[in-house]
Symmetry: C2
């Protein structure tokens, strides 16, 4: 065992994911077809199905990578500024980081949500772990902002804040596909997050 076949599989797996990532980054989620993918990878269409259950599984694997990159970007931004700065500044930074990632990877990012929307809840639930990690970064500054709140409350507020920022990014992205308004989206994020922080601080302390 442990022979050529496995090696070829692993290499092909990697190749397929790389091609898929590049194609989607350039032309979007819907522009990826099994035939073109196989042609560029130099394998038969059927070969894809030896490695991935179906095209959705392939895209899901690619989306997991994108999610990991995003999480890394957020973690780094947070690590750089964890000590310095108020919770408010930190939360604004996180929002900005999220937006910056989306501006740089618009089609890869939207592939995540297009697929989730298409495949419904039982699929989206599999991604919950990733989302929880992402939201985890929000919880920390939030703890300082709302010292009285319990874990559950914090998680709810963190999810709400994440969803709010996500909504701004998402609609901003939809309105003008890329060009016109990262600037406005940024203003919106800053306004919402700051107002939220000020208001939340009033409520609890």
């Amino acid at each position: 065992m442990a022979g050529k076949t496995e090696l070829r599989r692993d290499r092909l797996r990697e190749t397929l994911l790389e091609i898929a990532e590049r194609r989607i980054a350039e032309n979007g989620y819907r522009a990826l077809t099994a035939r073109e993918l196989a042609a560029e990878a130099g394998c038969a269409v059927g070969a894809i199905y030896n490695i991935f259950k179906d095209m959705d599984a392939l895209v899901a694997a690619m989306n997991t990578r994108t999610g990991a990159r995003l999480e890394r970007a957020v973690a780094e931004a947070f690590a750089k500024n964890a000590e310095a700065g108020t919770p408010k500044r930190q939360l604004v930074l996180l929002g900005r980081t999220y937006l910056a990632f989306v501006v740089e990877n618009p089609l890869l990012w939207s592939a995540i949500f297009e697929q989730s929307a298409r495949l419904g809840k039982e699929f989206a639930e599999k991604r919950e772990a990733e989302n929880t990690r992402l939201v985890g970064h929000i919880v920390r500054p939030l703890k300082v902002l709302l010292p009285g709140a319990g874990e559950e409350r914090l998680a709810l507020v963190a999810r709400a804040l994440f969803a709010a920022v996500h909504g701004i990014v998402s609609l901003g992205f939809q309105r003008r596909f890329l060009a016109e308004s990262p600037k406005e989206a940024e203003e919106q994020i800053v306004f919402i997050v700051e107002a939220f922080c000020d208001g939340a601080a009033l409520q609890k302390g």
Copy 2:
């Protein structure tokens, strides 16, 4: 002129939209096929294309109706509570109304955004007028909340607030397709909108 053909066209147009609306409400955006639609409407597949340029145009027409219903629901909720209540209460009410509409029309609502996502910016721009009307309802209470702000600033903040609430609804909807969490989504909306209002009021007098 003005004869049978036109009448039949209008009737068929109506029939097609009604069937599409029911089918999507029951089984989702992706479950609508030209063949099934034609079969249920009792016409040939080609007949659909005499009335609509393509299936996207049909769905777009249906989405416009859904948007109009949503706008009406929001307008009514606002009309009932325009006089009484603080801006904060009014904005929370608007958020709740939006959520309630989505809970009652989940698949029709998500058809709007699935299509916009699929067809990209030049399509989404056509829907801008509808969005502006919807956001208009937010501007009014916001004017009271931020008496110093100019029109442009108000529009930006209104869009931000709309996007934030939309994000909460959208992700809440994606996480658990329908069942588990309208309650949590409502809590999140109330929290975000209230905190936002308190914080925003601090910023501007």
